[in-house]
């Protein structure tokens, strides 16, 4: 069986499993409602000419909404990824998959793609907010498209980190906790580095942490570095997970 076929079968199985999970829909609904509340709050403040807001609706409503959406994604991703390997391990499916002629990368890729698709469905709902704004005023559509791409890129990175910890730990709770610790360090490490008052640490943190990269992308300033950051993050997560799966095979032989 070709790698593509293996990848497709694993992805299909994982997507089906995800769509049979009530938690997925609960998370999706909560994500949407939270996003709607944030959006409406920004919209009301902007329409009333609130202090500190720009005169531009894209700057004051759309961009802050997407920044918050990114934060909500960061919270939700570990809840979806924690079960991916841990659940399979507990019910023996992982052993079954690894003894089958499926390659580790096909298993991993399939699980990654399925979870990423699940998150991408969240993300495809988000343009509803700029569309509503666009019905009331002019919106910078390229910035909106850039923001959606930013959410997708960051989701890919976070999913791979979540998968890494799901593969590394025995329990789902441990996987979620470790993912949260890592993702929050990536998200807020910049603040700690700035507080340390060490210039070099601050400079390095700007490369390693998410803040600069995601804010650049969401605000419509696309730099190769920002895109590369999330691509590299996704690859690092996937690669280390693949190594963990490989190591599991060695241990079991």
């Amino acid at each position: 069986m070709s790698f593509t076929r293996q990848l497709f079968l694993v992805t299909r199985r994982e997507v089906a499993s995800l769509l049979c999970m009530p938690l997925y829909y609960v998370l999706c609904g909560v994500f949407f409602m939270l996003a709607a509340l944030v959006y409406l709050q920004q919209l009301v403040v902007f329409s009333q000419g609130g202090q500190g807001t720009s005169v531009n609706a894209t700057d004051s409503v759309v961009v802050p909404t997407f920044q918050m959406l990114h934060f909500f994604l960061l919270i939700q991703v570990p809840l979806l990824t924690m079960r991916v390997f841990a659940e399979d391990r507990s019910n023996g499916m992982l052993d079954l998959l690894q003894t089958m002629p499926a390659r580790d990368w096909a298993v991993l890729g399939g699980k990654f793609l399925a979870t990423f698709l699940g998150i991408a469905i969240y993300t495809t709902i988000t343009p509803i907010f700029p569309v509503v704004t666009g019905m009331m005023t002019i919106v910078d559509w390229p910035v909106v498209i850039g923001s959606v791409i930013a959410l997708l890129l960051s989701s890919a990175g976070y999913v791979s980190i979540g998968l890494l910890f799901s593969a590394a730990s025995e329990s789902q709770v441990a996987a979620a906790v470790l993912s949260y610790v890592t993702l929050f360090m990536l998200a807020f490490g910049q603040a700690f580095a700035s507080a340390s008052n060490v210039q070099a640490l601050d400079d390095a943190a700007r490369h390693f942490t998410v803040t600069e990269h995601i804010n650049g992308l969401i605000s419509g300033n696309i730099a190769p570095m920002n895109v590369a950051y999330f691509v590299v993050m996704a690859w690092v997560g996937l690669f280390v997970t693949a190594r963990l799966l490989e190591a599991r095979r060695w241990r079991s032989t």
């Binding site: 531009n56 070099a200 400079d203």
Partner: protein, 522 residues
């Protein structure tokens, strides 16, 4: 035995953590992270990962191969990131290009001669350092001769003292050096890094730096014009803004009988008395020799003194400025009088260099084309009124606090508020082209009105720059993003909230029901 083996296997883990701490610590001590710091950090991480595998009793050969593979792969990824981090390309997706430096900035930076160099010394707090670096990198991309030094005003006290102490955050010094390293000129300024409105400040500093300061704008006095005496009715602020561009401003009287040789332009701001015949000839000859004139001719409302020689000067270029007043009925809502027409920008090089924010004129004289086209004269509109305006002679005004439209509805139309005149004057003493900017009001630019009057200041400044033929060094205004207001009613807000919450609930309940049903089916 087993415990001992465990300790041995923990050594790479320990070394990995030590290596990681050293990479971060040494980088921090050095004040900058080099490539080898990153490499060391990645090797340490690989060592940690590898030893964790070893601790879990993974076979040595597999572990080693995996480690090498991991290190190379991670290094390749780190390299890819570093390469991308050094790429200067940026894609600015915003409509207003807020992440990109404007075309005028590029134009001004290109003026730095290749053999000269510029140095920017900016005092910036540590928290703003990265933002400053990112912002200034755009300048460096456009001007490779520019070197940038960032200092912390609270830490780099020796540098602060070199600049005389008492340095604020955001303050900068910009110097221009000759090829031999001799400082040619220096200018300073202050930018705010907390908001996006900083490009114009720095770019204007470059414009000042590249202006040699040998030009003089002569400010006419003696005919009751607006002065530069710092009173509310003076034009001191706009004059100071011009002077900030390294141009001398000097008051002079036409009746002195000669136009100085270093005249870049003459400004006549709202005269209350007419030119003498001698002054008229002097000014006319000056213009015929390629002179530059900025003429603000108010309607003579209180004085009721005619200004025939000024009007005759204008007539010579196919224009007429009758002693009438523009009536704008739409101005009533803002100013409660009809005599403050809103000036709307037309397509003109002067307008291109501003944010094109409309501003109000205060009792404006109309400018009318006589329709006689002189092939040597080029007329271009700079400011027009809205299409609801008409004019009334000052002597028989009917509208003031109440708009009384004229019987002839065809008179209700856009009125020309400001025009530029360009006339070819080959071999002229003051240039190859005579240039005039005409506007029927001078009150809009007074210190009293300037701060709250849209782009009135920008109009004045850019007009002077256009006259000086230094379009490439136009002082640029702050860049503003397009205003896209939203009128949100309470009903709309509640409707949106209800709809969104309903959609969210539908996703949650419907989706969960679907998932449970599918599980049961399975």
């Amino acid at each position: 035995m087993q415990t001992r083996s465990l300790w041995i296997r923990a050594v790479p883990l320990f070394l990995g953590f030590v290596g990681l701490a050293m990479a971060v610590g040494l980088g921090a001590l050095n004040g900058a992270f080099m490539t080898w710091h990153f490499a060391m950090g990645l090797l340490s991480l690989a060592s940690i990962a590898g030893s964790l595998l070893w601790l879990r009793e993974v076979r040595w050969r597999d572990w080693a191969a995996s480690c090498v593979y991991t290190v190379f792969f991670l290094l390749a990824l780190a390299l890819a990131y570093l390469v991308s981090a050094n790429r200067p390309q940026r894609f600015d997706l915003t409509r207003d290009g807020i992440h990109t430096l404007g075309a005028q900035t590029s134009s001004i930076l290109r003026r730095i001669p290749a053999e000269q160099s510029a140095r920017l010394e900016l005092f910036v707090a540590q928290k703003d350092r990265f933002a400053a670096q990112k912002f200034l990198a755009n300048y460096q991309r456009l001007a490779p001769q520019l070197s940038i030094d960032l200092y912390d005003p609270k830490r780099d006290l020796d540098v602060v003292s070199q600049f005389g102490g008492n340095i604020r955050e955001g303050q900068f010094f910009l110097s221009l050096f000759d090829a031999d390293g001799t400082m040619k000129r220096r200018t300073d300024g202050e930018i705010s890094l907390s908001n996006g409105l900083r490009e114009h400040v720095l770019t204007n500093a470059f414009a000042r730096l590249l202006t040699d300061g040998k030009e003089t704008i002569y400010w006419s006095s003696g005919l009751g014009e607006k002065r530069l005496d710092k009173t509310d009715d003076s034009l001191t602020k706009v004059a100071e803004a011009i002077a900030a561009g390294a141009v001398n401003i000097q008051e002079f009287r036409l009746m002195e009988g000669r136009i100085p040789a270093d005249t870049a332009a003459i400004v006549i701001a709202g005269p209350r008395r007419d030119l003498s015949d001698f002054d008229f000839e002097l000014l006319k000859n000056y213009l015929d020799e390629g002179g530059k004139l900025f003429l603000m001719l108010d309607p003579m409302f209180e004085e009721r003194v005619p200004l025939p020689n000024f009007e005759k000067l204008v007539t010579g270029y196919g224009l007429d400025m009758p002693n009438e007043m523009i009536i704008d009925p739409l101005a009533m809502s803002a100013t409660r009088v009809t005599t403050t027409p809103q000036a709307i920008w037309a397509k003109h090089p002067i307008a291109l260099a501003t944010s094109r924010v409309p501003f109000l004129l205060d009792r404006a004289r109309p400018i009318v084309s006589q329709g006689k086209a002189d092939p040597n004269v080029k007329l271009e509109g700079i400011l027009v009124s809205n299409e609801q305006c008409w004019t009334e002679p000052v002597d028989s005004m009917k509208s003031f606090r109440r708009a009384i439209p004229p019987d002839d509805v065809e008179k209700v139309t856009n009125q020309i508020l400001s025009v530029s005149v360009t006339k070819q004057t080959p071999g002229g003493r003051w240039g190859q082209r005579a240039k005039i900017v005409l506007i029927g009001d001078s009150d809009a630019f007074t210190d009293r009105q300037l701060a709250t009057n849209g782009d009135a200041g920008a109009f004045f400044l850019q007009s002077v720059n256009w006259l000086r033929e230094r379009e490439d060094l136009l002082q640029i205004p702050p860049r503003f993003v397009t205003a896209t207001p939203i009128a949100l009613t309470t009903t709309t807000a509640w409707t949106l909230l209800g709809t969104f919450l309903l959609i969210g609930l539908l996703i949650t309940v419907g989706g969960s029901g679907f998932a449970i049903a599918r599980r049961r089916m399975k």
